[in-house]
Symmetry: C2
DNA sequence: TTTATTGCAAAACCTTTGCATGTAT
DNA sequence: ATACATGCAAAGGTTTTGCAATAAA
């Protein structure tokens, strides 16, 4: 059984979290294959909400599951198109994905350890609309990341570990 | 002689624009070589403020100047480290650079034609500080892009041309 | 002359694709 | 049985690097 562990509490006012299940696969016209179910369950259960193809691949290797990298890339792309995952490009140079719970938010990323937290600021959203309106652009989306040091005692450049 | 053409007016209140010259190269401990001078002058004179390595390479080829792509990449990196250019990663997947005039701003990018405009919103900046403070992060920087349609009459999916 | 810089080709990275094999329905 | 998924290896696109040849100081 899949379970959800969220480190970051969502505001009540912005709706509730829906768990993604193998049923979501069928709804998206995707067969419930082992790689797909495993990937989905990784996102549900991992304490990292944001995973790259490589992260997933390494996790599988460490569990002696062998799923090709190509499959992982293909599944991630399909999940994104199906609205199950959202893709982000942080400065790392590689794409990371997270479950799409339908609630837009932005990210604050620790430059030292890679720790990611989410935030949503109504005022920032509003100002963006204003900027776009004043220049006669029609907003399709946006991407905002704050790069920072998280200053947690266990934040010690873990990123170097590989 | 190099000249500056800015499509986007800067607010008076945020300082004045300084032109980058071959002297800036020396100050950065870089020899004033032809490729470096040409690249600098391209940024000064182009009506596109945001250029990728490829953009520069193509421009040079069209002028029968032959500068290797590797050199362009190396020079862009050096210029970034010297504080002459700033690098951005828009969704295109390739890095683009622009002159660093020391004035932070964010970008609104047209999804159809790739047209880029700059903006600076005090309120957005402030709210980011607040978000970081409330989570005990120390901000190092941020990256904000709004993706939109620019709705200009000459915006006709020019991006497809190549 | 000395040291930095260039060009070329090769390699490194991340990601995508072709194709024969395998699996869910 | 049929259509869809997978794995592998090869190829794509962007960026970096090694090294001998070249140019700036």
């Amino acid at each position: 059984m899949l379970s959800v562990k969220l480190r970051i509490p969502y505001k009540k006012t912005r709706g509730s979290i829906l768990m993604k299940t193998p049923d979501d696969l069928k709804k998206a016209g995707l067969k419930a294959t082992l790689p797909r179910i495993k990937i989905l369950s990784l996102f549900e259960s991992s304490d990292q909400r944001h995973l790259s193809a490589e992260d997933i691949y390494k996790q599988f290797v460490s569990e002696d599951m062998d799923v090709g990298l190509a499959t992982i890339y293909r599944v991630l792309t399909q999940f994104e198109q199906a609205g199950i995952l959202v893709r982000h490009h942080f400065e790392s140079g590689k794409a990371v994905y997270e479950l799409d719970h339908g609630e837009h938010h932005d990210h604050i990323v620790c430059n030292q350890c890679g720790h990611v937290e989410e935030f949503y600021d109504e005022e920032i959203e509003k100002r963006q609309l204003k900027v776009a309106r004043s220049r006669n652009f029609k907003i399709l989306g946006h991407s905002l990341q704050i790069y920072a040091d998280c200053q947690e005692e266990n934040c010690s450049r873990k990123i170097e570990e590989n």
